[in-house]
């Protein structure tokens, strides 16, 4: 029994859970307000938006890429929707058109990312670093460089603020989105193919995986998730502009790294990523409740990223040492073989 417990806390999941328990224990001692329904709901609300983007980003990270443009993409998604709903005088048609146009643009952006990375073979890091600015420029054009403020309580307001059964709608959307992503990654051939492409692109081609198309689809999903998240965020805040979701890339990547997902591709899953988002959200919330000035919050976020990577690498090494006896190098095998010829 005790052996099992030690083993559990030595495993990546065990460490994640124990980290969470530690944070929660600290909060129980210092700030009992932490467990109020209001606070829990506000934590989940904060996670919901980034959680949706995390799902999209995870697809791209698993196949060995990265999308640095998601913050600008979210801002653009929110801005396009805002322009349409405001321009139409907050009609339902205006909302639907704005939503559809926004998603169409998202698909186009993802398509460009995917094609650049596969057909032209450019590194995703470079491509999305560039499109990040292109999209931000587009936001400024769409909004004329100013904030768009909303004062409507119709369908547009509902997207970010409705509470069916008392649960905020963004949280419900987030949970559904996560469930679908987890299903696609974990249970479909498409999901399997992403892990393979991330694990070994050449071998993927040789077992008949359509690497180009599948990669493009992942980039499209990532863009759509960012645009979608941005639209919900704009509705929640009732304002849109270049600064919408400006810290998304940091939060999303932190969640993914803290969730123990290998940025080199081929590994990780939705549970880890969502756990990462949860932990980061809880810590951010805790810092606010404990009265830590906002400047120091960034500092803590940085420390958490480094700590998480260090912990991941450490556990991985340890578990590998335990599991596998040192294998003889290829050279020794070759020579051993030659001696037996």
């Amino acid at each position: 029994m005790s052996k099992k417990v030690t083993k559990f806390f030595g495993s990546p999941w065990g460490q994640r859970v124990s980290l969470l328990i530690i944070v929660i224990l600290i909060m129980i001692i210092f700030q009992p307000k932490f467990f109020s329904l209001d606070n829990v709901s506000s934590i989940l609300l904060a996670i919901a938006i980034y959680g949706i983007m995390v799902c999209g980003m995870l697809f791209v990270v698993i196949l060995g890429g990265i999308d640095l443009s998601i913050a600008s993409a979210a801002a653009l998604g929110g801005s396009i929707l805002s322009v349409f709903v405001k321009g139409s005088g907050y009609t339902v048609e205006g909302f639907i058109t704005g939503f559809a146009v926004s998603i169409a643009v998202a698909i186009l952006v993802g398509l460009v990312h995917g094609v650049m990375c596969t057909v032209f073979g450019l590194p995703s890091f470079v491509v999305t670093l560039a499109t990040q600015y292109v999209l931000l420029g587009a936001v400024l054009v769409v909004t004329n460089g100013a904030y768009i403020y909303h004062s409507d309580f119709g369908i547009f307001y509902m997207l970010g603020n409705a509470r069916p059964l008392g649960i905020p709608l963004p949280i419900i959307i987030f949970l559904i989105y996560t469930a679908i992503s987890a299903f696609v990654l974990g249970c479909t051939t498409y999901g399997r193919s992403l892990y393979c492409i991330g694990g070994n692109p050449v071998a993927s081609g040789l077992v008949g995986i359509r690497t180009t198309i599948n990669t493009i689809i992942a980039y499209i999903f990532c863009s759509v998730s960012a645009f979608f998240g941005g639209m919900i965020l704009v509705s929640m805040n009732m304002m849109a502009g270049a600064a919408t979701a400006s810290n998304a890339i940091g939060s999303v990547l932190t969640a993914i790294i803290v969730g123990g997902i290998n940025l080199a591709g081929g590994e990780g899953g939705i549970p880890g990523a969502i756990f990462g988002a949860l932990l980061v959200g809880i810590i951010n919330n805790a810092l606010i409740l404990l009265g830590v000035p906002s400047d120091y919050q960034k500092f803590v976020q940085g420390v958490i990223i480094i700590g998480a990577i260090a912990l991941n690498v450490y556990t991985k090494r340890r578990s590998e040492n335990i599991k596998t006896p040192r294998k003889p190098s290829k050279k020794t095998l070759d020579s051993a073989q030659s001696a037996n010829l």
Binding site: T188, C196, G199, G208
Partner: protein, 503 residues
Amino acid sequence: MENTPLLQAVGINKQFSGVPVLKDVELSINKGEVHALMGENGAGKSTLIKIITGVYTKDSGEIFIEGKPVEINSRQDARNCGISVIYQELSLIPALTVVDNIFLGQEIRRRGFLDKKEMRRRVKELIEKYEFDINPDAVVQSYGMAKRQLVEILKALSMEAKLIIMDEPTSALSAAESEKLFETISGLRDKGTSILYISHRLEEVYRLSDRLTVMRDGENVGVLTKEEITPAKVMRMMIGREVKQIKDTSGKKIFKDNVLEVKNLAYKNILKDVSFKAYGGEILGIGGLVGSGRTELIRCIYGAEKQSKGTITLNGKPVKKSIAKNIRNGFSLVPEDRRSEGFFPVLSIEKNIAIASYDKLAKFGVVSRKKEIELAKKAIKDYDIRPPIKSMPVGNLSGGNQQKVILGRWLTRDLKVLLLDEPTAGIDVGVKGELYQFLEELSKKGTIIIMVSSDLGELTHVADRILVMHDGRFFEEFTHETVTQTAVLLAASGVHTEEGKAL
């Protein structure tokens, strides 16, 4: 001068984890001679070179340079003794200039700054002395393989190398470029530099070398002078006693209804005109040197490359140019480099096996977890994959077990054609035997098996029929009864068996 030994290695022994790899090996290289070193894969050539150049340390034995005993324990030691190696994969940095590359790591400094002028002057001097067609200021990436090799040679010369070791230098060169290289080598020899030349290509060795050392199974077989070298003699020395492998072919059935036909296949400049038929129930071995077009041939059949001419048909139907469709029609490939092309190192054994079978394991794109696990368990059991833990990442397995995973991926399907490229490279003997067993069983079920191999023992032992490629064509065909290892080697070098006997 002519006959003073520059380098003498005496009684060199080396073991790897208790297995002797070099047994009392001797090597003597004279000043200003081109000395060839030959032997089959695994004969110990590379190990010997690595000991001379300080990559490995010898267990016992002595090395003399110009009669004086030396200890070579690092690459630096070797360099100080005047020994330089030019590797198959060149070690130049493409983005730097010729001068920068040559002086990389041994830059000339003046008052703490790089003395570019002096370095450039020295390189120019060398280029003029040896009449190389190289611009000292050119960026290396603008040069092709042949010129890069010259830069490597310059680098060696700049370190005042007395002995330059070349490991398969022509493997990446065209015929014309090789010709140039031979001239360069002769030029170096005439100016007093010794060359140790390692190659599988017999014709090069005859042309170039003054003397030839043959190794087999970690031992010296002998030293031949230029006058004594004949292809047949060298082959016999390399292979030793001709061992006739006996394979029980009784009761072997040919399945006439499963036939792969390749007609006049051409691919780029590599495959020139290849035609053959292979039937179910037979194991077709393809021999030949690296670069003779073997790999490209099976990649074309698999649909991974598009042929420029010719047709490939399976049972009368043309083979598609889509790997996914071909897999569904019963094709499979075990690629040459399993780490970079075969398995997925971070993924589990289970996923690695299931990956080619989702057409059967999934419905409407949704994978049946139950079937996936069953398949993995069956493959682990049937092919004795160790450790039998289906969640273990394949990158953590031994080479042999990694190959079993790749085989398991295919053998759990209904195969019409199995293509294998060097299936047992780097795999220990025990697992090799198991793999051959799997192939034999599969063959009895009527699958067409085509196996490319450089391992002569493997070809003659496993294959029912052997086609030897030379320069993009089939050069000679052997049956299991007529084949000998010598004949295959000769054919791979472009010498017919009959001619070989005359030599």
